[in-house]
Amino acid sequence: MLEIAVGHSNDPDSLEAIAEVLQQCKNKLGDKIPQAGILFAAVDFDRELILQEIDRAFPDIELIGCTTDGELSSVLEFQQDSIALTVFYGEGIEIRAAVGRNISQDPEAIAQATAATAKQQFNLPIKLAIVLPESLTTSTVSILRGLEAGLGDNIPLFGGAAAEQREMQRTYQFYQTEVLSDAVPILLFAGDIHFSHGIAGGWHPIGKRSQITKVDRNIIYEIDGKPALDFYHHYLNDYKPDSAYPLAVFPPGEERFFLRGALSYDLEEGSVKVSGDVPEHSIVQITDTTLEDVVNASAASFAEAWKNYGGEEPKAALCFSCAWRRWVMGTRANEEYRALIPALQDKIAACGFYTYGEVAPLQDNGQTFFHNTTFVTLLIGN
């Protein structure tokens, strides 16, 4: 039986905040000591202090976490400067954390080795993994490929890329009591649990269809034979790309698209670094959305997950929503969470964060993909 508790505080004082969070978790679990936890924290907190406090409260906990661009939970709904902790307790369930460090040195190989080593410690068959990878230093797509190879057996990955408050400078990952950058922490679940997921976006392509003519992984150099920045300049009248208007990427021969937002750019080269690899010769279009479409995506993704849930009772919904969604929603960001409340029925705890890219398969039992500007719901329980 899996039990899940969520604590959430928006007190800017780190010590006060973590004390409040831990108290909420204890209130829910009683004298059960959680085996594992996931921490989402806004960037301004004293991260080391918080991790130490968690360790003090639950000394043997398997913990991962990351910095975020906003947090949400069934306790405080949407917040921008808060910490949210989800803890797991279960009999007949094995949960273990692992981390890959200095991931940018060889993302695929390091991720693969990390996953393979972690896998060996399990007695039960692994069911799924939560990943909170670095996204600014390296290709998240390569990290995912490595993890998949290391885990084998088509084990699905869920999660989101660590974020900060739109500075695009540095994100942090947490592993046990360590605060890291350029790392990929993972939390593996094995044994008697059930889960399902759903994804929805809300962006649609508009404007002319152009072709990627020069790209190296996630750096686009040329679109239609011209510097990539010209493409943005054409639409935005500004050489700065705006991540609220991601690119719809149609890989060659594909009618479905995924979205890629701009992370940074190089004025001299005219190149744009986007949030994930882009296949060569892809067709791209600029996209637009309306607030309604963005807000409605959370409920749509939850409904899909709910429909596919094969177990008896989901205990929690882990939500991974793109930071760009929040930026577009502005003051209406809380509506995205509020749209979930009727479905949660006061029975399912929810916790999530605003990411720099979401991780989930496109369909159940399918390959894991790296998404942007989407809302991923992972239902997990018995």
Binding site: Q80, G207, Y235
Partner: protein, 328 residues
């Protein structure tokens, strides 16, 4: 209130103040960012609208190009139709030339024989050796020769006359009053070399008295097209056909029925024979314009109607209905 409660309340107030301060900071930066996003949205939509306008302009230009190409094609088609008319005329000229060649050739032979005979007679006279028998022989040759010359020259004259009629009518397409049946007979004479080649039989039947005020040249061209089509399409090599042209009149309408007893036209092709460029004989020089021109001449120039029935293996029949007077 107890001191403890007060302390708790103060603590809570302090927390609320911290949160409010943080939120204020946040809302400032967020507001600035939203402004940028909105500005960009405006540009984006402008950009897309410009693109739509541009692609509309491109479409308009394409439309124009297509229109121009279409006009060029129409012009080209008109030219081809014109060329086909000229070709029909050319065929007529060749036929007539061939036909005239025979009497003129005979005349040349006869005239040279007569000349040789005359020279030997003159020589005999000069040498004072003219005998009665020689003179009689010469006179007989002269009589026969002049007979032949006259008949052949008359025939040539006839041919030239009929050709002149058709040729002039074809090229100028002048409107005049004429007797239909004799005109059709003349026309068939001018086509007879082609007809003779396959030794086909042509019957012209109907009312001798029909007079028309119309364009005889157009009628000539229509009939020429129908006959040449029968010759080209209806019969296999060596087959002897029977072509019939029948003219009747009821009130002010003239009915011209043309039929052959050849191979006929397949059902699927019946609807298409009047289409320009429809031909089943492209490999034998067919252009698919003949019946198209015929149709245009009948319906426009001659202000009439044309229809056809055909049965494979039995033959083809064209029914042409014409007004006897064209006024406009």
């Amino acid at each position: 209130m107890a001191d403890e409660d007060k302390a708790a309340e103060i603590k809570d107030l302090q927390k609320q103040i911290r949160i409010l301060q943080k939120k204020l900071e946040r809302s400032e930066t967020d507001r600035a960012r939203l402004e940028v996003t909105n500005r960009n949205k405006e540009s984006l939509l402008k950009g897309v609208i410009c693109e739509l306008e541009a692609s509309q302009a491109v479409l308009e230009k394409k439309n124009l190009d297509v229109e121009r190409a279409f006009n060029d094609l129409t012009l080209m088609q008109d030219k081809l139709v014109e060329a086909e008319k000229m070709a029909a005329l050319g065929g007529l000229v060749a036929g007539v030339a061939h036909e005239i060649n025979t009497p003129v050739g005979t005349c040349i032979t006869v005239a040279s024989t007569l000349m040789i005979e005359t020279e030997s007679l003159l020589a005999a006279v000069a040498a004072n050796r003219l005998k009665r028998s020689l003179l009689d022989g010469y006179l007989e040759v002269a009589k026969e020769s002049t007979d032949l010359l006259l008949r052949n020259l008359e025939r040539a004259g006839e041919l030239i006359q009929s050709f002149k009629q058709v040729a002039v009518d074809q090229s100028s397409l002048e409107k005049r009053t004429f007797a239909l049946k004799p005109y059709l007979e003349e026309l068939v004479v001018s086509l007879s070399p082609q007809l003779k080649k396959g030794s086909h039989q042509v019957t012209i039947a109907g009312d001798e008295t029909i007079e028309m005020h119309s364009y005889p040249g157009a009628i000539a061209q229509v009939v020429t097209n129908l006959i040449t089509n029968s010759l080209l399409h209806a019969y296999k090599n060596g087959e002897k056909g029977h072509l019939e042209l029948r003219a009747t009149k009821r009130d002010d309408r003239i009915l011209l029925i043309y039929r052959d007893d050849g191979g006929g036209i397949e059902r699927d092709n019946l609807k298409r024979v009047f289409d320009p460029f429809f031909t089943t004989a492209r490999d034998r020089g067919g252009t698919g314009l003949g019946l198209h021109i015929t149709y245009n001449l009948v319906t426009q120039k001659l202000q009439g109607k044309i229809s056809l029935t055909s049965e494979v293996g039995k033959g083809t029949e064209f029914t042409i209905e014409l007004p006897d007077r064209i006024n406009s």
